[in-house]
């Protein structure tokens, strides 16, 4: 048994598959095919939640995503906040509770997977109701590649719940035929359970597919680029605003029809139907036919529609035209409605009469779902006859159809969908024609008259005419906002919070604009509506994050020797996307001990480092030398084949941008290296200047970072290691001088060996094709073992270079530092006419003498390592803030070689202060430090030749 309100037959539920679920602590049963809402109604449960401000009981207003009331928190299978009971598919073991407008997040990790999918199509049809299916059929038959996306579990749209006939058979038979034909076509993709949530530039639409908790990926985000888009998104029925219009058991007329026809559930036994629109009569008649007693159809319009009034009379349903519901009774469930004669022009009310009921159906007309059209920059206009904002004007490639375009009957929707499909196809150059339209029920086109507000007969009663049920915002709130002086719908929305709930005002937007217009005495078309923004309905963060989480949040780049470093237990430093070994601790060693040992090894023996992550750019072409002269501050065109030169790059504003080496590898060919993190930016910078400023230069740039694995061998015994491992190169200083390169063979692999040193020691850099990186690394390691070769990481490299006063771009510079500030005027050519950055050196601010300059610091005896980032002040005692600052520590280390902690710093007028004592502000202490030359070790450069 799936509930006392379930009919014995009918509906699109599976009576063979009962589903056990739990709601608010009660164990209940529904059927496969139910939503949580239909299952609750089948069990006679109407109150689902409570209002956010007043805590009043709230029921189920709708049967779809427009639901403002029936908010639930899913507890099992996994907690998810703030879903609408009307869209939660019933599943075995589902547990949910009603919410007072605020959801709960689970502290447990979400076990589900999420993913992204990309698709391109000729025609995207959004919505698979009569209009959407007709459009899809027409376009597909014309040969278009079509995607059909619909939020519901089944195609059919409004036909799922209307119980109407097409071609003299239940309409769903036509839907099934249409779906089956589309499914047969190989160029058609059908996406049920897929909500199109956003419509972006150039027909780029985003949709979220709900695949269920048991699926491999619970939700997938579709990114669809469509040539044409048919918006067959349907319409949402509007509730009416009257006193106590929020009681459980108050329901949209169309929703009641859906519960009846789709779920075979009676939402009540005795109903009052309050309407200003012909559509609600169908609901009254259908429910009556299913055994619901209709106490009255209360039509606020003076004259009832004759066609429907006659049908009601035939069924014995009383129609009370020129009346309105002015109040309700009941607490957890509506028990009755008060009606009164009503003049919609003056608002005058007659005496009240009471009708018992357990269901109050309301219909205030329909709002076309124009969200996506509006997001696509489609203009909207208020249409008096429809009492709604409709698509107006046109957007190329976007075709609103059916109820979304303001149409009311199934016949109209079928026709307009077919037209949209044909139009879309024709814009693609395809010939399409609409198939004959199936025959529909011979009903007149429903008409309505907008009614924004039924006065509260208890004048001055506290706010109980609810406009936005999701936000508990009432007519009194709007009244107060207008009284406060607000006239813009945007201000009033913010004042009252109308339209800002989870439902984004689907049922309240137009109604509130109508009430505002009434209070301001303005035209509704002037008042307008607030902007429709993505997403159309709420989307989980996880669905949009997709798989860009954890390791895949950002690609991990590793070198050819990475696994070796892992095997040695090296912790890694993130440098850009690269993983670089930070240091190689031996058992029992902490970082400090490891780094001191590694430094000592390089200074006294030999060490090796994986420097493959350095950016490498192959520069080729007859004008390569001229180009390099323009992009580096120093001269490159004088570099001879086989030689290497340090190079410094600035941006046009004269600030240091990157540095590296340039080696000449051919007559018209150079290899330029960059910092590890800067490689992509440098290549882009170079391409920019080359292509847009100097297109006449015959130069080509190619990134070869991942073509070359690079191994640094450093230390006085590095030559001995290479002598054992490398053939084909005469390694002595005379034949292979500093800053030159040679080809040799290591471990049978051709290698390019450079004499480059970033530590000041005798050093080599071995470049081999990436594929052979690990083999050559291991060969060098083996060759070095007799010398105690020590692998070292980035930290040791940093210490060694700092002892030599070599700055690191991005650490010792911050985009505000010039070559001169770094004391690297020697790398700025005086001979070249121009290069990038040159002009900026003479700007007034760059010629100040008190600019911050790179200097060394030695803390006073007994002081520890200064934290990097420490600010430098000039006084022994801190004055009151603001305290003038001289600069800051950019690099700071312990040094085995120097026997003292030391640092590099940028200090105002620093070079003139060498020998002075200044103070590092560490915590609340001032640490005396002496300013020194930035080169701490081997100032004369005696060690580089071993």
């Amino acid at each position: 048994m799936s509930g006392p309100f379930r009919l014995d037959e009918g509906g699109r539920i599976d009576r063979e598959r009962p589903v056990a679920f739990r709601f608010d602590g009660r164990d209940l049963q529904g059927l496969a095919g139910d939503t949580l809402a239909s299952a609750l109604l089948a069990n006679g449960v109407h109150q689902v939640a409570t209002g956010i401000r007043y805590g009043r009981p709230r029921g189920i207003l709708s049967a779809g995503p427009e639901e403002p009331n029936a908010l639930v928190q899913i507890e099992k299978p996994f907690p998810e906040p703030m879903l609408t009971a009307t869209t939660v598919e019933l599943a075995d073991g589902l547990e949910a509770v009603g919410l007072p407008g605020q959801g709960r997040l689970s502290p447990d990790p979400d076990p589900a997977r999420y993913d992204a999918v990309h698709a391109h199509c000729d025609v995207l049809v959004v919505g698979a109701g009569p209009a959407g299916l007709s459009a899809a059929l027409a376009a597909a038959r014309g040969g278009a590649r079509v995607v059909v996306a619909d939020a519901d579990t089944e195609f059919g749209g409004g036909l799922l719940g209307s119980g109407e006939m097409l071609d003299h058979a239940p309409a769903m038979e036509w839907v099934e035929r249409a779906r089956a034909e589309l499914a047969r076509r190989t160029e058609v993709r059908l996406l049920p359970r897929t909500t199109v949530t956003g419509h972006y530039d150039a027909n780029y639409l985003v949709a979220v597919e709900n695949r269920g908790d048991d699926a491999f990926t619970r939700q997938r985000t579709w990114h669809i680029r469509a040539h044409e888009v048919v918006l067959a998104t349907g319409a949402h029925e509007r509730p009416l605003v009257f006193a106590d219009n929020d009681r459980p058991g108050t329901m949209l007329a169309g929703a009641a029809r859906t519960y009846l026809h789709r779920y075979a559930v009676l939402p009540g036994r005795r109903a009052v139907v309050f309407t200003t629109d012909d559509g609600a009569y169908t609901a009254a008649l259908d429910l009556c036919g299913a055994g619901v007693e209709i106490a009255a159809v209360v039509d606020a319009r003076p004259e009832p529609p004759p066609f429907w009034a006659k049908r009601c009379a035939e069924q014995g349903i009383p129609v009370r035209a020129g009346h309105a519901v002015v109040g309700t009774s009941g607490e957890e469930h509506v028990t009755g409605a008060s009606i009164a004669a009503f003049d919609p022009d003056t608002g005058a009310l007659g005496p009240e009469e009471h009708h018992d009921c357990d269901l109050l159906l309301v219909s205030g007309g329909w709002n076309p779902a124009v969200h996506l059209y509006s997001q696509a920059r489609g203009p909207l206009a208020y249409d008096e006859a429809a009492g709604a904002f409709l698509p107006s004007g046109s957007v190329p490639g976007v075709h609103p159809a059916g109820a979304a375009a303001g149409l009311r009957t199934t016949a109209q929707c079928l026709s307009s969908g077919a037209v949209a499909g044909v139009q879309a196809a024709s814009r693609l150059g395809l010939e399409a024609s609409a198939a004959p339209r199936p025959e529909t029920d011979p009903h007149p086109v429903p008409k309505g008259r907008p009614l924004w507000l039924v006065p509260d007969p208890e004048a001055g009663a506290p706010g109980r005419q609810f406009v936005d049920l999701a936000r508990d915002a009432t007519v009194a709130d709007i009244d107060k906002a207008v009284g406060a002086g607000l006239t813009s719908v945007e201000h009033i929305k913010r004042f009252t919070t109308i339209g800002t709930g989870h439902d984004q005002g689907r049922t309240s937007g137009t109604v509130s604009s109508g009430i505002i217009a009434g209070l301001l005495g303005a035209d509704l078309s002037e008042v307008g509506t607030t902007t429709f923004r993505a997403p159309y309905s709420p989307v989980s963060f996880a669905a949009l994050a997709g798989r860009e989480r954890g390791e895949l949040y950002d690609p991990v780049r590793v070198t050819a020797m990475h696994d070796w470093h892992v095997e040695r237990g090296a912790p890694f430093e993130n440098v850009g996307q690269w993983k670089r070994p930070w240091y190689y601790p031996r058992p029992g060693e902490d970082m400090e001990a490891a780094v001191l040992r590694e430094c000592r090894a390089v200074r006294t023996g030999v060490g090796m480092q994986d420097v493959s992550t350095l950016g490498k750019i192959d520069v080729q072409g007859p004008d390569a030398a001229a180009f390099l002269d323009l992009v580096y501050t120093n001269m490159m065109s004088t570099l001879k084949l086989g030689r290497i030169r340090y190079g410094l790059m600035c941006t046009a504003d004269g600030m240091v941008f990157d540095d590296g080496t340039v080696m000449r590898t051919g007559e018209n060919r150079y290899l330029a290296t960059t910092t590890s993190g800067g490689a992509a930016g440098v290549l882009e910078h170079l391409e920019d200047w080359l292509q847009t400023e100097w297109p006449h230069l015959r130069v080509h740039l190619t990134s070869v970072t991942e073509q070359w694995a690079t191994i640094a061998l450093a230390g006085p015994r590095s030559r001995e290691v290479l002598e054992r491992a490398c053939t084909g190169i005469d390694l002595d200083n005379a034949d292979f001088p500093f800053m030159s390169w040679r080809h040799g063979t290591i471990a049978g692999r051709r290698a390019r060996v450079c004499r480059i040193s970033f530590s000041g020691e005798l050093a080599f850099e071995v470049n081999v094709p990436w594929w052979h990186g690990r083999q050559v690394w291991e060969a060098l390691y083996a060759a070095g073992e007799p010398f105690g070769i020590t692998p070292y990481g980035t930290e040791t490299m940093h210490v060694l270079r700092a002892e030599k006063g070599f700055p690191i771009v991005g650490q010792d510079t911050d985009g505000t530092v010039t070559p001169q500030d770094l004391g690297m005027g020697w790398a700025v050519s005086k001979k070249k006419a121009d290069f990038i950055g040159s002009r900026s050196f003479s700007r007034p601010d760059n010629t100040r003498t008190d600019r911050k300059q790179l200097v060394g610091l030695i803390p006073a005896a007994g002081e520890g390592v200064l934290p990097e980032g420490t600010q430098i002040v000039g006084t022994r005692v801190l004055p009151e803030p603001p305290v003038p600052m001289l600069g800051h520590v950019t690099s700071s280390y312990r040094s085995a070689t120097l026997g003292t902690p030391f640092a590099l710093a940028l200090v105002k007028g620093g070079r003139d202060r060498i020998g002075q004592t200044v103070y590092g502000h560490v915590g609340d202490r001032l640490v005396p430090v002496e300013i020194t030359d930035p080169v701490f070790y081997d100032k004369e450069g005696a060690r580089r030749d071993g």
Partner: protein
Amino acid sequence: MMLIPCPWCGPRNETEFHYGGQADVACPGDPHAVSDAEWAGFLFFRDNPKGVFTERWMHRSGCRRWFTVRRDTATNEIHDAGAHEDEERTVTV
């Protein structure tokens, strides 16, 4: 997600491109001959119209070529992409 017409690769998603701001801003031929104010103009001052803007894009994930697009900055509507039809489309010398 704009659809940007790369003259060499065809229309591609915006995510494949790098934006370069206003097009046709030439570096002064002899930077040392211009005043500080003129130099600042080149470094920092760019048009910022609401409406059609001639701007530069670079197809970072594709051909890595810079090209010009005319786009309406109010609507993102792209009017045309560079008059590169007659330009040589080879990238090898």
